[in-house]
């Protein structure tokens, strides 16, 4: 098993980040091109805790080197993600696991967004870790697959962060315009 970890800070409030997170893979994100679709499978609010639980299916398509394609034989893959938003504690926790080829490779990812304790109103911490385990009889092959996956995870994490920054920026702009538009409309109505 190999572990991939990454942390970063976004200069936006937890509310803004948690909202934009639902749009992380929209057209504004031109970097994470490996994610081709995101579908919501189920969604509910826990009546006791108020936690929003969402189950999503993420469709990915990414070119693989020939040696890996020979083993995996597919380019399109599916990931199941369960996320928990706690609006009181202000946490977003997302757990995901690959559905495709899980007899060969198991990838378990955890992502968390929490307000930065040093500046909770304006900054959000992002924590990501992935446990990657390849199965098979040959140690060298298992290691090669795990190393490749960690490397791929690293590249996708960098692109994901850049892409998400763009989404955050666009979201804020869109909301600002929407707010100003509403105010303008209201002023026009009263005028």
């Amino acid at each position: 098993m190999k572990v991939f970890e990454s942390n970063c800070t976004f200069n936006y409030s937890w509310e803004d980040v948690s909202l934009a997170n639902w749009r992380k893979y929209c057209a504004w994100n031109t970097k994470s091109t490996h994610v081709i679709a995101v579908d919501t499978l189920s969604r509910s609010v826990d009546p006791e805790t108020g936690i929003l639980i969402t189950e999503r299916l993420i469709t990915c398509k990414q070119a693989a080197p020939r040696w890996l394609k020979a083993i995996f034989g597919t380019e399109e893959s599916y990931v199941r993600e369960i996320s928990y938003v706690d609006p009181v504690a202000k946490t977003v926790t997302m757990k995901s696991m690959n559905l495709t080829l899980n007899n060969l490779l198991n990838v378990q990812e955890t992502v968390q967004y929490v307000p930065d304790p040093e500046c909770p109103a304006k900054r959000t911490l992002f924590k990501q870790d992935a446990k990657i385990t390849a199965y098979g009889a040959f140690t060298r092959l298992r290691n090669a697959i795990e190393d490749f996956s960690v490397d791929r995870f690293h590249q996708n994490a960098i692109k994901g962060r850049e892409g998400f920054e763009a989404v955050l920026q666009m979201s804020q702009k869109a909301f600002k315009e929407l707010r100003e538009g509403t105010i303008q409309e209201a002023t026009m109505q009263t005028a």
Binding site: S18, D39, R80, Y84, V85, T93, M97, L99
Partner: protein, 80 residues
Amino acid sequence: MSSSLAPECSEVKERYDQCFIKWYSEKYLRGEAKTDDCKKLFDIYKECLSKAMKAKGIDTMLAEARKNSKDLDMDIGQSR
């Protein structure tokens, strides 16, 4: 918003996603979510998606994953 794995569901998905984002930002984050405003739209989207997932064989894959990860899901759900 992002596309659906089934192009024929993209339009109904878009309508649901828009509704959800509005509900999430204007009600849920403010602690005012008393009702599920988007249920109707979700049901339409879900019906479309279920057909597509069945045709692609994703439904069985998903059922298996749900069965195997039940404990894990519950762990997180009760973490608070």
